[in-house]
């Protein structure tokens, strides 16, 4: 059932599964941002070969926000890392804007799970070093302007000389987001970006992320790994639900056709939101009450 839904729900995918990898060509057109093509990732472990994700195909349109959701260890981060280029697929291919992904590149900005700021560099230097490395064709003063613009965008310009250790979790995450935005990628990859934040900070971070996306004319494609259903619905156009690993596949892709801009307070009363929420809950959770515990 799960393999069938893979294809049924990926509307622009025309790839036949049995086609050998060598002849697979990207079905690139102006609206395709990311193409994940029949990707399998296996790792060698002391206990033998471990397959994290298996035969995953997924197309993401330009400017789309897509969440990958699933239980811990279901390979959603692994799938995302094949898009970022941090993990090389064992089989299959990933294309970013029609170009084969072989390693991380400046077209894809990554926000890591635990912020991954360099603790010995100031907020400013953390972003500057990334910009300096990722953008080759700009002068130092242009790069500095970029850093300034992005730090002001996340309202951290006043804290630019602080070390990451002096910041709160929410502020660190904003630095990480500013760093990813500063290299002006067409694709933004967020790996459980708000997982470590408290519920209140998380909420305001959602709004801030959408605001940044709006400021950029909704042109950036955003892929986000999460295990938070509300977060996934509020932010996404589509939610990709993954099966449990090992050898995880896509269980189902749920559309979220809620109108934008969305309002955190009002959206929860929208009947459509409730329907999507219940659907995702049913896909992810089997036991809802103590009566469901059978053993």
């Amino acid at each position: 059932m799960s393999t069938a839904t893979n294809f049924a729900t990926a509307p622009v995918n025309e790839i036949v599964m049995n086609e050998s990898a060598a002849v697979v060509k990207p079905i690139y057109n102006a609206t395709t941002s990311i193409e994940v093509n029949n990707v399998t990732v296996s790792f060698k472990t002391p206990a033998g070969k471990y397959t994290a994700v298996k035969n995953i195909s997924l197309n993401i349109k330009k400017g789309e926000i897509v969440s990958l959701i699933g239980h811990s260890g279901c390979g959603k981060s692994t799938l995302m890392n094949t898009i970022s280029g941090m993990v090389k697929p064992t089989e299959g291919k990933v294309f970013s804007s029609g170009v084969l992904v072989t390693k991380p590149g400046p077209d894809r900005g990554i926000v890591f799970q635990n912020y991954s700021l360099l603790p010995w560099l100031s907020v400013y230097r953390n972003i500057y070093e990334a910009v300096d490395s990722a953008i080759k064709d700009k002068s130092a003063s242009e790069k500095k302007k970029l850093v300034e613009k992005n730090l002001k965008m996340v309202k951290l310009w006043d804290h630019k000389d602080k070390l990451p250790g002096q910041l709160s979790g929410g502020m660190k995450q904003r630095v990480a987001i500013a760093r990813a935005f500063a290299i002006n990628p067409s694709i933004l990859l967020l790996d459980e970006p708000f997982g470590a934040l408290d519920a209140l900070t998380k909420s305001s971070m959602h709004i801030e992320l959408l605001k940044l996306w709006n400021l950029d004319n909704r042109e950036k494609t955003i892929v986000m790994v999460t295990h938070d259903i509300e977060e996934a619905i509020f932010l996404s156009d589509r939610v990709v639900v993954m099966n449990n690993g090992p050898a995880a596949t896509i269980k189902e892709i749920v559309d979220v056709p809620l109108e934008r801009p969305r309002n955190k307070k009002e959206i929860v009363h929208d009947p459509e939101y409730r329907t999507i929420h219940d659907k995702l809950l049913n896909l992810l959770i089997e036991k809802f009450s103590i009566e469901d515990i059978t053993d």
Partner: protein
């Protein structure tokens, strides 16, 4: 005012981790008093064969007179100290110049680790004294042999700690370098070295401690001007146990100060994540 400066000095030297409170100062005084008491008892039961703190203090003041006296036939204690420190500095400095790069190389790569590590593990436990005759054979010169001895012995802690630091750079930091396409040089200067620096400083702290310990043995063997020779010649051969005790106290305090300098540096370059 004077009390304040004393406080800050003690603060820096002995209890740098905590602020000096009147309480910690009190503990310090209790510790010192306890040591003095035990010393006094030992003197008493050895019938002052081992001089009491008071007797030692008299000799201490005597030794401390004209510390910078620099006559051909007599060198002041300051001159001796500087001479010892210079030897330690040269041996330890040369050792550092070699151990840090090798440590970086060793830690950054499994192959180099596997090649260099067995050599290190075989040479590291060798007693400092065993290196002295080898140095003598190489240089035909005893002061150079004692520098050689310090050099060899101060290599290992820095080398091992540096290698450990480099090989334990968190994946998160490496990911930043990969994700944003850091050049090799940027990776080294912005990720590898800053992460490894506290480990290097730990290594240096241990190395300078070893070097300072070894210098006394080295100078006893090589003679010349220095604290080690002072212990042997003026203390033991001169029949003055008090001078031996004075030298032990000076060696101890200088060793502590060297340790605290590196400890302070280590703290300065450690970062909260």
């Amino acid at each position: 005012m004077k009390k304040e400066t004393m406080k800050t000095i003690i603060n820096k030297l002995f209890v740098s981790k905590f602020k000096v409170t009147s309480l910690s100062l009190l503990y310090f005084i209790i510790g010192m008093a306890l040591m003095g008491g035990i010393w006094e008892l030992i003197s008493y039961y050895t019938k002052y064969e081992i001089p009491s703190p008071k007797m030692t203090w008299v000799v201490f003041k005597e030794v401390m007179q004209n510390p910078m006296q620099n006559d051909p036939d007599y060198k002041g204690i300051g001159i001796k100290l500087i001479s010892s420190l210079t030897r330690v500095g040269i041996g330890f400095g040369l050792g550092t110049l070699i151990s840090i790069p090798i440590g970086l190389l060793m830690g950054s790569n499994k192959i180099t680790m596997n090649i260099i590590n067995p050599m290190v593990q075989i040479l590291r436990p060798v007693s400092p004294l065993a290196w002295f005759p080898l140095g003598l054979a190489i240089f035909q010169n005893s002061p150079k042999a004692s520098i050689f001895m310090i050099f060899i012995c101060s290599l290992w802690p820095t080398l091992i700690n540096t290698a450990f630091g480099v090989s334990h750079i968190p994946q998160d930091h490496k990911n930043v370098g990969r994700a944003f396409g850091f050049s090799r040089w940027k990776y080294i200067s912005k990720i590898m070295l800053p992460y490894t620096l506290p480990h290097i400083l730990t290594g240096l702290r241990l190395s300078v401690g070893v070097a300072w310990m070894v210098i006394v043995a080295g100078e006893m063997l090589s003679g010349g001007i220095g604290l080690g020779y002072f212990v042997w010649e003026e203390g033991f051969n001169g029949g003055s146990v008090a001078k031996i005790l004075v030298a032990i106290i000076i060696i101890g305090i200088v060793g502590l100060m060297l340790d605290r300098i590196f400890m302070a540096l280590q703290k300065r370059f450690s970062y909260a994540v």
